[in-house]
Structure formats: C-alpha cells, structure tokens
Amino acid sequence: MNKIRIWKAIGRGVLLESVRRKDLWVIAILGMIIILAASMLGFFGVRGLEVFVKDLAVTVLGIFSTIVAILTSSRLLPDEIRNRTLYPLLARPITRMDLLLGKFFGAVAATWIGFLMLAALTAVALLIFHVQFEWVMIQYMVLKMMGLVVLCAVTLTLSAYMTPQAAATMSFVLAFGSVMFEQGLLMAGNSAGKGMRPIFATVSDILPQYHLFDEGSRAANIGWGSAPIWVVLALGTYMIFYSGAMISMAWSKFRKQAI
C-alpha cells in the first residue's frame, strides 16, 4: 500500500484535531495581541523601535511555535494509548513505524501551520510599523521551521518513554535551555583539560542543537544579512539525521510495546 497515503491520512487526523482543539487559535490570538500591542506603541509617539519590534516578533514566534510543537507532539502517542484510539488504528494493515511517522508528520504540519499563521500576523504587524521585511527574515523562518521538525521528533520520542507531562517538561527544558546548556558545556569544556574535552563535545553533540536553527538575533538586529547557503544545507542534513535517529529511538520502544 502507498506509504505516503497512510502517513497523510494519520497526519491529517493529527492536524484536524489540533485545529479543532483550538490550540492553534489560542496561540494565534495571543501572538496577535502581543505583536499588535507592540505595534500600537507607534501611536503613542514612541518611534525608532524597529529593532525592538522585530526582536519582539521573533521572540513571540519562537516561543509560541515551540509551545505548539511541544504540546502537539507530547500527547500524540500517550493519548492514543490512554484513549485506546490506537486499537482501531493498529488493527489496520499498517506498521507501527507508519503510525509513528504519520503522527510525526501531522505534528510537524500542525506546528508549521501555527508558525506560518503567527509569521503572517508578524509580517502584517511589521508592515504596520513600516519595518522592512528582509531576506534574512525569510531565512530565519525556514531555519526555524527546520528546528521545529527536530523539536517535534525529540518530543514525540520522549513521549514514547515517559508520561506526556514529563515529555513536555523535558522538551521545554531542552528547547529553551538549549543555548544555556551549550554555553555551560563550552565553558566547562574549555576549563577542563584537553583529555576531558571530548566528553563535553560528545554530550554537546548528543543534545539537540535547537539554538543553531534560531537566526532571530540576526533577523532582528541591523545589517546582519543571511547566513551562507552551506549553513542551511548543513542544518537540513542535521535535521534529517537527528530527527531520523529520534524517531528510530521512539520506534525501538514502541514497536514491541504491549498496548
């Protein structure tokens, strides 16, 4: 049977549920309020806040898209098992890997739609504020969407091993603490002797590198320009391999799991 059709069907279910649960709408409304509130400052006579508004926009985009990604991905598998919706699904001639991939693609689609909705609102807010929409902003969005793929994969995998609440908490820590962990490892690695450095390097490599996908500081500040194309390609490769490794880990737990 056509695998893509299977993944599409499962993914569409995830997406429909996400839309109908109104998660995306709540995020969109919150994001819109914050961004428009920032834009409203212009009417109070506070001019020259372009950098601030852009910074706020990328911060809102980053935070809310992370929330959508984690909340959507963390409950997919545990909810299926708890609500027993898994039985009629797995009674069909599909493999558990098909199910995982379908769920994963659905979570990515829901997250991307949420992100693009917020990005559209942001673009409108920036236009109201007469902020130029630069190429680096497009690249920021592309990289962010790639980072969200990694985040969905990590959260889905964690949810295969722990409760959805624990998976969500872990994912939030990993996502928002990514820069902090990396800086801590760097400082510790540099302070440690050369013999110890490979250990820190290995730990750093194992942790998901979300912060690498965040080009927000370049997009918000002035005159940075976009990153070279090799960076996008390298991050794309990282996304594929890291997400693949994560989904494989989820599968190794899920494939024999009694339900």
Binding site: V46, F52, M187, S191, Q209, L212, S217, A227, V231
Partner: protein
C-alpha cells in the same frame, strides 16, 4: 503525636499575631512628608511588579541592541586566571568606555570552540562578531526604548538616568537642559531616587556650570540618602557616594570650606575608602601615587579619630 502539626500551626499563627517586628528592618523606606503615596495600593503593587519586570527585560534587551545583537558575558574567574583576555579590539578606548575589558562573546571565537562544524554554524546563524570587529550602535537609537521603559515603569531609575545621559550626549546646553527636564520628570515619578536627583546635580555642575543650583539638588540627594542603609552594591548607594563627592567639590569651588569639610567627613564616615573625599578633606601630597592615597587617607582618618579632631556631624 498527630496533634503536633496542628499545635505547631496554631502556635506559629499566634506568634505571628503577637510578634509584630521579627528581626532587623533593613532599609526603612524614606517617605517625604509631602509625598502622595500613589504607589502604595496592593493592586498597584502587583501591577508594579509586572511593569518592573518588563522594564528590566527591556533594559537587558537595550544593552543587547547597543551591541547589535552580539551577546556577551563576563569572563569566569578561571578564564581570567588562565590569562585569557578579550581579543584585542581595534578601538581600545571604546572598549574601556563600554566596560568591556573582561567580557567575551557568548558564542565563542573559533579558536576557543571545540565543537567543530556546530560552532561554525552557530557563528553563522547568530549575531556574532569577534572582538576585533566589535562595534556599538549609536545609543541615540536606543532612546525610544528608554522612553518606553520609563513609560511602562515610571519608577525604573536606570531608564531615567541612562536615558538622560543619551539625551544630553550632544554637548550643547539645550541638550543638557532637555536631559535635566527628563530627569525631573523621573524625580516626579520616583521622588525616593538618590540617583535621579544626583544626576540632575551632576549635569548642573559638568554641563551648565551652575554650582548653586547643583548644590540644591545634591543637598536634596544627601538628605534623602543619609537616612538609608543600603547593601554595598546598590546603585543608589553608589549614587549617594557620588553625591558626597560632587557636593564636597562644589562647596570647595564655592569656597564654603566649613560645609566642604562637613560633607567630606560625613561622606568618609560612610565611605571610608573614598579617595576623592579623602583628597578633599586631607589634601594628600600632590605627588603621592594613587595606589598609596587610599592607605594614606585611611591612616589619616584613624589618626584624626584618635585625636578626636575630626569634625564629624554624624557623631
């Protein structure tokens, strides 16, 4: 046994009811008699917390914007001891001005990054420039943010003080007057702040050359500050030390020696290590190297104290 927790709770409640002041009170609020306590209501207090948080966040972001998004951090003690120094910047004077002699970019330069390609990617995707190419944005561009900070939280003192510094950056009198007006607005919003009032006095001295006017504001700052007991690193504490210095120097230039001595000795009582105040009070030998002046001043103070000749208004 099972009643012990209940007894403990009741006991604590009773103790809380009868013991009104438990432990020492630090920094008792100084409230001028004519102050309209608009910020003392509970709801205002909660809202105030929120506004202060936003203003503090804006403050941090502004610092980041001035570095055009390049995040920096202080060196760790280990880094400093290992002889690591900030890469030689092209503009050494600027580096000193921005107090960046012991800072590093949070994204490390290639030579102190063991992450290989991940490090290269991070340097390419984040706002990163090594310290050789480090520049600062014009602070004037950040002025709207200072206005926003003080608009959100009128009691956010750094917003008033730094904002005034930016407004008055143009060396004209008109700019200085605008800066004073901005600070006076701050004073109306936060009449407790020594920093704001001291800054007004400083502008009158350094920019408008109006010492009598400066003395008025500095005396106001001195009067507010001397009732308080801050922890040593408090910005307001530093402002009070500055107040004593400027005030002593003002009286010296106005040739009011008695007042100069009174202020300097009061200041030294509070800040015994302050070389400027020691200078004013004891006039050390002109050729003495600065590193010996502090010790000299300290000795002088103890000497004066032992002979009970110090004119100390606090005692």
């Amino acid at each position: 046994m099972r009643f012990i927790p209940i007894i403990a709770i009741i006991g604590s409640a009773a103790a809380g009811n009868f013991v009104k002041d438990f432990g020492p009170t630090i920094n008792p609020p100084y409230i001028p008699a004519n102050y309209d306590a608009q910020e003392t209501h509970a709801s205002t207090s909660i809202l105030g917390q929120f506004r202060t948080s936003i203003s503090s966040w804006l403050w941090l972001r502004t610092d980041l914007y001035l570095h055009n998004g390049v995040e920096m951090r202080q060196m760790t003690e280990a880094e400093r001891k290992s002889g690591m120094s900030t890469e030689d910047a092209a503009d050494d004077g600027h580096k000193k001005l921005m107090n960046e002699e012991s800072v590093l970019t949070t994204v490390p330069s290639k030579d102190r990054d063991f992450r290989g390609i991940f490090g290269d990617i991070e340097r390419a995707t984040s706002a990163y420039k090594d310290m050789h190419h480090h520049t600062h944005n014009d602070p004037v561009a950040a002025l709207p943010l200072f206005r926003l900070m003080t608009w959100l939280d009128p009691t956010f003192v750094p917003g008033w003080v730094q904002g005034a510094a930016i407004i008055g950056r143009d060396r004209s009198d008109a700019a200085a007057i605008k800066a004073v007006e901005y600070l006076k607005e701050g004073e109306r919003q936060d009449p407790f702040s020594v920093s704001i009032v001291m800054e007004i006095g400083e502008i009158y001295i350094t920019r408008l050359n109006n010492l009598p006017k400066a003395v008025t504001y500095l005396e106001q700052a001195r009067s507010m500050g001397k009732h308080r007991d801050w922890v040593s690193e408090d910005a307001e504490n530093t402002a009070l030390e500055q107040t004593y210095r400027w005030l002593a120097l003002c009286y010296r230039n106005l040739e009011q020696t008695q007042m100069m001595r009174q202020v300097a000795s009061e200041g030294l009582k509070r800040y015994p290590d302050d070389i400027v105040l020691a200078h004013v009070l004891y006039q050390p030998p002109a050729l003495m190297k600065p590193q010996y002046q502090k010790e000299w001043a300290r000795e002088k103070i103890s000497e004066q104290k032992s002979t009970a000749k110090v004119d100390d208004p606090l005692e």
